[in-house]
Symmetry: C2
Amino acid sequence: MRVTDQSISEPDLPCDAERFNQARAAQSVAVLEDYAEMIDDLIAEMGEARITDIASRMGVTNPTATKAVARMKREGLAVSRPYRGVFLTPEGVTLAARVRARHQVVLELLIALGVPAETARLDAEGMEHHVSDVTLKAFEAFLAAR
Amino acid sequence: MRVTDQSISEPDLPCDAERFNQARAAQSVAVLEDYAEMIDDLIAEMGEARITDIASRMGVTNPTATKAVARMKREGLAVSRPYRGVFLTPEGVTLAARVRARHQVVLELLIALGVPAETARLDAEGMEHHVSDVTLKAFEAFLAAR
DNA sequence: CGCAGAGTTTAGCCTTGGCTACATTAGTGT
DNA sequence: ACACTAATGTAGCCAAGGCTAAACTCTGCG
Ligand SMILES: [Mn+2]
Ligand SMILES: [Mn+2]
Ligand SMILES: [Mn+2]
Ligand SMILES: [Mn+2]
């Protein structure tokens, strides 16, 4: 073949690409979302969020957690001073709250659909980041009307 | 505080970390899955999968698609000779089939839950990769029993 | 037959998010 | 006071997945 039939493949270009672009965009903030939620959890549970605790709970090494926190600081979601704990900015707190609520809804939905609790717990962690506001509303409506 | 209470934080370490590790593992194969499905689509639709078409549909530039295909070849999912189209190995075909079926179920589930079709189309692209076999079965059961 | 242009590859850059190894700080207890 | 140790930070490596720019190959057409 190798024909230059750009006219045939043009209509679907923006179509498919848009989908993948949204998925990539969601993925690029997934780490920020998980760390925000985790830092908020640790502060609530332990009174402070130490790098070591963040790292062990996220399942990564300390330098990896340090880098992630550096990115969060850069993006205005967290603050910290050397050898002190990590804290969330108001924006970070807002993000953490939104992310926690969404995570909970996704988890509950999976369980409502008959997914075993442990499997739901594992799958929700990755799925949550790709659930848009519109989809979240649909999940909530389903759970409420059940 | 700063007490050395490792005994308190030990029990939850494997717990939380396991969740994030699974999400990271799923993410690390997401690109392979999407490309496998896309190459299979293109071969079905156009008789061959050219780099340019793969790239435009994935919403990336040609070099990015070339690199992704290189990884697929390295992992035994695709084959190609310079300046020729890309083909899937039997393993690649198997992956594509599994991924397409899962994608379809996730899409149908979202629509069944009342998510608008266009939103469902966008969200499913990212969510699919985090849906385990067990969860997929639950989705299928829900759709069948509806 | 040869060439122009479409398609492909290559080179090289960047960011992110993993890691190990090592240096530095700070808190605790003697 | 001070040493020990845990925590933190830093340096530097790697792979993946984006990109641009530029070189290369193929092919259909004149
Ligand atoms: Mn998550
Ligand atoms: Mn989460
Ligand atoms: Mn996908
Ligand atoms: Mn897909």
